[in-house]
């Protein structure tokens, strides 16, 4: 059931009625029931995987809590020496570490086998063939990937890591833990919420609030606009063009490259808007995942504003743990001695960054093109960090530091880099296809013909609708810079408010790109 479907609207409406009928203290149970109904409808018997993750998360969390309680009791005994206290703390930490390690290996193990098992087997077979000239290949697993497995695994493991650090207390109610893992509005494509953020409103059973309803509905329709008017419309052109990438002139590929950036932004951020909007209807506050990424002035800034919850997950649970690990600290010291302070201190950070970007690539898909895509991001960020001085001197020479022109240049440059990097994401035939598309789109430039655009899925009317949709999307982002657009809309005169609301609803209904049988395309991040 897609978030952009009438079936989902009906599902949410039914959940809302029941949610507000039952007493506040049971409302989270309604959300849990609907989350599991949603999951079973999507995954059938494969619901077992999310149950296994939930159960293991719950019990490991409780065991870590028990360990902390025992420590507290031991420390509160009178006359205990400072050294003894230190030893007790160390022992507790070690015990919690064992529990956490088990949970991480177990849950990431499930994810690894299901998502990456066949990728590993394919590569082993390739090595066997090319290195050992053996044709006794390993058989593929061909597993069914449960819905949202990357999202709920990352979210649950983030929760356990936070508990290990003692950031907050664990959830003692099993059903609430189950809801945190499976909450249906965010199960398809995130965001990856932190327990201390989401739990504040997820379990509170908010009272009915008309303002929440209004804000939620606006957000949902804005998400539908991005998904149905922009993303699904340009998706037709992008798919058709990439399917015929070898025969088409470069200009059509170039348009597809830019349209794909719009598609993925409209699709993913639109889906997140729907998630946040639906949650708001239930009085649940979900973390924002986008902050107008296409206005970023550098690639690293872009990644601080795109899929933000994934970025902060990698920062907090991979980047920092690597950089401050004992082995990396020791390596850093050795490098500082060997290579000098300036160069040596960079080594641990760059190793951690490499790991993060390798993992980011792998997170997006079990294929080499995703890994290359991730590592290219790493290389660009590394170059921009190392060349900061050179860029500073160039800016000084051009005397444009801080000017609008410089900001515009940097924004356009970032957009171009990110759009071309996305070609690796788009090229399902692999790295050679991606390189071919990039080369041809940059070298085979001519004026596009409307006939060909029509043949590729965008006739004049469709093209106009797509371009206007994209412009509206960007203008909205531009206005958003000065504060919430919905807040402004709420303060606007009644006539303006109603007119804009009607325009948004009509745009979605009339100009939405509805696929065969009025079934919208699956969200791109669904596959992750």
């Amino acid at each position: 059931m897609s978030y952009a479907s009438l079936a989902f609207a009906g599902f949410v409406a039914l959940a809302l009625v029941l949610y507000y009928i039952v007493p506040a203290r049971f409302r989270y149970v309604i959300l849990l029931i609907f989350s599991y109904v949603f999951y079973v409808m999507a995954c059938n018997k494969y619901v077992i995987y999310i149950i296994v993750t939930t159960v293991s998360t719950y019990f490991i969390a409780r065991l870590m809590e028990r360990s902390d309680v025992s420590l507290k009791a031991a420390l509160s005994k009178e006359g205990i020496e400072k050294e003894a206290k230190k030893a007790l703390k160390k022992q507790n930490k070690s015990h919690k570490k064992t529990l956490l390690t088990f949970a991480l290996i177990f849950n990431f193990g499930i994810l690894a086998v299901l998502k990456y098992g066949d990728f590993v087997i394919a590569n082993i077979n390739l090595v066997k063939l090319n290195v050992f000239h053996s044709t006794s290949f390993l058989g593929f697993i061909n597993p069914v990937l449960p819905l949202g497995i990357s999202f709920y695994t990352f979210q649950s493991m983030g929760y356990l890591i936070d508990l290990y650090y003692g950031k907050y207390e664990c959830e003692k109610n099993f059903l609430k833990t189950a809801l945190y893992v499976s909450y249906f509005p965010q199960i398809i494509q995130g965001p990856i919420s932190r327990f201390n953020d989401l739990s504040k409103t997820l379990f509170s059973g908010a009272s009915f609030n008309s303002l929440n309803m209004k804000y939620g509905l606006y957000r949902i329709f804005w998400g539908l606009f991005k998904k149905l008017v922009v993303a699904d419309r340009v998706a037709v052109y992008v798919t058709n063009t990439i399917d015929r990438y070898q025969e088409l002139r470069g200009v059509y590929l170039l348009i597809a490259v830019f349209f794909y950036s719009m598609q993925i932004y409209g699709d993913f951020s639109g889906g997140i808007d729907i998630t946040i909007g639906v949650s708001q209807l239930f009085g649940v506050k979900v973390t924002e995942n986008f902050d107008r990424p296409f206005f970023s002035k550098s690639v690293s800034e872009y990644w601080n504003r795109w899929h933000m919850t994934l970025g902060t997950w990698f920062r907090d649970y991979i980047f920092y743990p690597i950089t401050v690990s004992k082995s990396m600290i020791d390596l850093g010291k050795k490098c500082r001695k060997l290579l000098g302070e300036a160069l040596g201190k960079r080594v641990p950070i760059y190793i951690a960054m490499f790991t993060v970007w390798f993992t980011t690539g792998l997170w997006h898909g079990a294929q080499w093109r995703y890994i290359i895509w991730g590592l290219l991001n790493f290389v660009i960020i590394l170059i921009s960090t190392e060349c900061e001085g050179v860029f500073g001197r160039i800016n000084g020479f051009l005397k444009w530091e801080g000017t609008f022109i410089q900001r515009l240049f940097r924004v356009v440059r970032t957009f171009l880099i990110m759009s071309f990097l996305r070609v690796f994401d788009l090229s399902s035939a692999g790295i050679s296809q991606a390189l071919f598309v990039i080369r041809k789109s940059l070298t085979d430039i001519s004026l596009p013909a409307l006939d060909m655009m029509t043949e590729l899925g965008l006739d004049e009317k469709e093209l106009k609708a797509a371009v206007i949709g994209i412009v509206i999307m960007f203008v909205f982002d531009l206005i958003q810079r000065r504060g919430s657009v919905t807040d402004r809309l709420m303060r606007a005169p009644l006539m303006v408010r109603w007119s804009l609301t009607a325009a948004l609803v009509i745009a979605v209904v009339i100009f939405g790109s509805y696929g065969p049988g009025y079934d919208s395309r699956a969200f791109i991040y669904l596959q992750f």
Binding site: T323, V324, I329, R346
Partner: protein, 75 residues
């Protein structure tokens, strides 16, 4: 402890008045390379373990913040 921490900071990034500056991270006086180097030195010097959860600007914005961090870990 405070003097020793200032010495470490001087070795990593000299020429800053560490006694008075209270926004070492916010003003980007120390970058992530400096902070990771400092963390390694602090762990060695004071025999403490600085976990990834403590890698937040509030713990490194001033010498007093760093002292408070170490004292918290020692306690």
């Amino acid at each position: 402890m405070k003097d020793r921490i200032i010495e470490m900071l001087e070795a990593i990034h000299p020429g800053i008045d560490y006694e008075t500056t209270g926004s070492l991270i916010d003003d980007r006086i120390l970058d992530s390379f400096d902070v990771v180097s400092l963390v390694g030195d602090l762990m060695d010097e004071f025999d403490v373990e600085i976990g990834a959860d403590l890698m937040v600007p509030e713990n490194f914005n001033s010498v007093d913040d760093i002292v408070a961090l170490i004292e918290g870990l020692e306690g």
